[in-house]
Symmetry: C2
Subunit: 221 residues, 2 copies
Amino acid sequence: MFKRVLIVEDMDDINKGVRTELEGLGINDIDQAQYCDDAFLKVRKAIKDKKPYELLISDLSFKKDNRTQKYSSGEALIEAIKNKQPEIKIIAYSIEDRFQRIRTLINKFGVNAYVCKGRRGLKDLTYAINEVYHNKQFLSPQIANALRKKTSFEIEEYHIELLKQLSNGLSQEEIRSYFNKNNIAPSSLSSIEKHLNKLKIQFKANNTTHLVAIVKDLGLI
Amino acid sequence: MFKRVLIVEDMDDINKGVRTELEGLGINDIDQAQYCDDAFLKVRKAIKDKKPYELLISDLSFKKDNRTQKYSSGEALIEAIKNKQPEIKIIAYSIEDRFQRIRTLINKFGVNAYVCKGRRGLKDLTYAINEVYHNKQFLSPQIANALRKKTSFEIEEYHIELLKQLSNGLSQEEIRSYFNKNNIAPSSLSSIEKHLNKLKIQFKANNTTHLVAIVKDLGLI
DNA sequence: CAAAACCTTACGGTTATCCTCAACTACCAT
DNA sequence: ATGGTAGTTGAGGATAACCGTAAGGTTTTG
């Protein structure tokens, strides 16, 4: 079994829960970090001390606070660590349910497992650790299915941005000029309308207000 | 210090973290539940067995799954438990940051403490347990300030209903006919427009979409 | 009781959005 | 090159939302 593990997670309660669980598995050399930047420094130091981590368990989203961070998300951290120590095993452990992000996580960064937080998050995590230790991949069931079928509508950064600006009260015309100014393409009123329409169909929304209400409930924005 | 505590929290990792923390405080008689309905049954049984819980630590939001629940939120659970056992101490422990909901939680249900999950969630929780044990109230700092200044504007049932229907995707015309059918007055298009306008001014919203986004963030609907 | 204040309702003009059609571009495969 | 497909852009008319005004009603108040 793994001996040396780093847990990166901003919430201290989850951090403690995961640590306790790992200790129950007989893993005793555990380090923890609540900020991505701290985590990266620990990884670098561990390599320098010739005691590199074998496994990284990391959350994806981190609450921002007064400490400014170089790496503000799990993705950024994972990318940096993979560059520094390519052979390290990585388990993403997050509540994130945006397929697009998870897909890139696995394809681009070569993450070994993705575990959804939830009622049985710790159980899945335990299972994932075993699988990853035996060089297997693990995906929590609720996303494994969804990832297989490609039918899932690809919500891109563009759509998120569009929805965000709508929820900020901008009119379509204001969004057009905002996109223009920030070099976000496509920026024509017509295209914005069209993408908006796609989103409305996708989420079965009657109108823009309804759409924003729905995606807010889904936690997309 | 409290001896007998019930933790209600759907995510197993947090559940474990909180339990470990409480054990560190010397509390050993700890029960846990991942569903609100289970929690209520445990409370009832504890009373029957003449070993009632002294403290309830409960989350507010619970992921829905295949198990249908009578109590689907922390609020519903807390209300039911308070009716059953009025003297029990209650700490709400949640990521919830909607002031309106927290306000009703404290004023209506008499919750003893509200602790925000986060980087220092467990530390705040520990502190809250001590305060509550000494019959004091505790609110996590990030909400304590915000709660003090109260919103003067009287939001009535009518406005809530209006906002709800908007977030359900109804047009103003559809809302008019809905109000008509359900004997909600005033129901004319003109009045609906007017009240909507008031709300937009009150919440500094640019348009209806913006308004719904804002009140959803506030937890008003 | 009547003036004042407030609310509801109706109407018309303006603006924003919704919707369809059509032209244009980029990319891919035959 | 040719044709197919998909995405962007533009223009128009239809619909809904927005805004001010004014008439008629109810409640409050002197």
